[in-house]
Symmetry: C2
Subunit: 148 residues, 2 copies
DNA sequence: TGCTTCATGTCAGTAGTCTGACATAGTGTT
DNA sequence: AACACTATGTCAGACTACTGACATGAAGCA
């Protein structure tokens, strides 16, 4: 309704724009994953396991930016659906290394293709060079210090 | 534990790095806002109202990237704590324009200072020029088309 | 005027995530 | 060997956010 408002300070904030892009990406991912019967968290779990087989619950949680308890539920749901397997006995400590089943790999492939397309479309306003620069700038903010 | 793994594909994804930075920012904001008795969503609501007084519930929800229902609860909590006021009768349609109270403005000021410091610290690895470039690149992905 | 369409505010139910807590296994220190 | 410390998996409860639905007010059109 009020389009005549001048651009406020939040729009100048990098944090706000990051949240904006992240929200758009999340909504778009949800749109393509829902028909596949997957939530964004479940997809993240499958993608991580596809690239790093044998990750434990805690490690998956860290890399998906959720708590162990949340990831535990995600794993349980996916295991019930036969998309992954966990050993009954811990191999090393208390860790239960998780592996994808063939069914999980199939679902992951479909989801991965769809998500990749969504991401590509979202960042299409940027050139390949700009996208790489964007990636590196963001990565520099989360890597502690390039002291080595 | 497994540090010898080569960097996987998700780390090359722009979407993943965005999620990573957003998670770090959210955690850091939560850390400084919790002592003030505010959630991130409540802070976002106050900040939006501080910069755009009189926004309606729906408009606040859109700008904070949550649903109307969620923002409705946020407003109710903040109103109970005397930080904002809503008219009993809608002025125009069904919109109830919200305004900050002096108490709300005071709390907002403290929170705003803290959040600004957090953000500044998170993006400190980047120069001012790089931060502006980062902002513009991200903004280009959410603005439909610069055809005009 | 009457009808359609859309947006807003709100209620109820559901699902997902978080916090707090506990037992267990490995590591390091004395 | 004994202890403290850390990390993992898991259970229970509370909280937050979302989906679905409804009534109301405004705007557009026949």
């Amino acid at each position: 309704m009020k389009q005549h408002e001048t651009v406020g300070a939040v729009d100048k904030s990098v944090g706000y724009v990051i949240k904006q892009v992240q929200a758009a990406l999340n909504a778009a991912m949800d749109g393509v994953l829902r028909p596949l019967g997957l939530t964004v968290a479940q997809y993240a779990c499958l993608e991580l396991l596809g690239q790093h087989p044998g990750l434990s619950n805690s490690e998956l949680a860290r890399r998906a930016f959720v708590t162990r308890q949340s990831m535990n539920l995600v794993l349980r749901r996916l295991q019930e659906r036969g998309m992954l397997t966990r050993p009954d006995q811990p191999a090393h400590g208390r860790e239960l290394p998780t592996e994808l089943t063939p069914a999980g790999r199939t679902t992951l492939h479909q989801a991965s293709v769809a998500v990749r397309a969504v991401e590509q479309q979202l960042f299409s306003p940027l050139s390949q060079t700009q996208q790489r620069r964007l990636h590196d700038d963001l990565a520099a903010c989360v890597t502690p210090a390039p002291t080595d």
